[in-house]
Symmetry: C2
Subunit: 215 residues, 2 copies
DNA sequence: CATATTCTTGACTACAAAATCAGGAAAGCT
DNA sequence: AGCTTTCCTGATTTTGTAGTCAAGAATATG
């Protein structure tokens, strides 16, 4: 996962730093990740980090933008059928979300960390990476409710709870290991996870009448 | 939320410190919470913290035990019907979990923080606070599956995902506010949240055949 | 290939936070 | 009250980390 353009040497190094930084920020959170360790891991001196990035916060933002670009690219590949019922679009969105969350666990971890803490970095994330997508999903949920396909839970709560459930199992792998001695990384575990999320939504959140009218 | 016994002055002060510490650890996480601020908030000097608690880690553990005792007390009030079908016990457990999570948001936040990060504190939490309960829930889920009432997802994944969903909305209030400008603390919001979780489980995870055999 | 530009670094400063300690105040006990 | 133990604190040390800077190496360019 390098950054977009790498023509000069500087850009190559900056990209490597971003990659390492993303991993550390996601695994440790903003405070526990240190400039020194990121530098060591990237094979450069700490001063080099400050040459390429003004400060730690800017490195964090830069790493996030990198991640956002990669995810956006993968998402673009999947074209949502605009005229499908909202509930079907939501299903597709959830499936996509789970898949991307497994492929880029950093995103969910960072959203969880910053989304709990609040503050500047969360505001930045919402402004630059999450806000529009989440609002679109909430509108989708609201539309699905209006179309009579979803139970009338608050749309924002639907979106956040679903994402929490989807990202939760991925984020909490250390807990899984510590508590049960197992992980869910296996292909079977991932498939079961996706099935669970979809089941929660589409046999749980969807009104029963649906299954009668649309076989 | 003070500690159990407070006969002497020292125990009263230690209890106050634990209470403040719990709030800070839960809101900020272990690293961002500072001994200085906890001391200030508790109205004592920083050195007093080190008189009552050897170091920051021990203060953290002590605050967790305090929280655990309070929750255990509330749980004891509710007697689970041992001979009810596993799936019904699971429903009751989930309802209880959501209610307690709203009442003690600190627990879910700390489990989320440490459960993502791994490490010593997570090991301690599992050993002293979470492990037994989670394993019991997983056994319950396994039994419900064996009894044909639950879809055959991996029990550990069921437990962790459900808890992630239940705690997620509570933990992510800052995200809710930043992204949507709304909160879910209201009585209606909480009720909707509980309904969502139960819906996910009991119309989503439960096999359809159930509704036919047991009206 | 000479020169300008970009890049990298070791050594350093600044700072915030944890942890220590000796002295003294307050509480509890007879 | 007098004495002992518990409790609390200001001052200080220690540590870990972000950030700066001047000097020089590497790289790109005409």
């Amino acid at each position: 996962m390098a950054t977009v353009l790498q023509s000069t040497k500087g850009e190559r190094v900056a990209g490597r730093i971003r990659t390492v930084a993303l991993e550390q920020f996601s695994r440790l959170g903003f405070e526990r990740a240190t400039m020194g360790e990121i530098a060591r891991e990237a094979g450069v001196s700490q001063a080099t980090l400050h040459y390429h990035f003004q400060d730690k916060a800017q490195l964090w933002r830069s790493a996030m933008l990198d991640l956002g670009a990669h995810i956006a690219e993968e998402e673009r590949a999947i074209s949502a059928a605009r005229d499908a019922p909202a509930v079907d679009q939501l299903r597709m969105a959830m499936r996509l979300f789970v898949e991307i969350s497994w492929r880029h666990p950093a995103l969910g971890r960072i959203v969880a960390l910053e989304g709990m803490a609040g503050g500047e970095r969360l505001a930045w994330l919402v402004e630059n990476l999450l806000g529009e997508r989440n609002r679109r999903l909430a509108r989708l949920a609201a539309r699905a409710i209006a179309e009579g396909d979803l139970k009338p839970f608050p749309p924002e709560q639907i979106v956040v709870t679903l994402q929490a459930a989807a990202a939760g199992l991925i984020n909490l792998q250390p807990l899984m290991r510590a508590n049960f001695g197992v992980l869910a990384y296996s292909a079977a575990g991932r498939a079961a996870h996706l099935d669970m999320i979809l089941a929660a939504v589409f046999d749980g959140f969807v009104n029963r009448k649906n299954e009668e009218t649309r076989p």
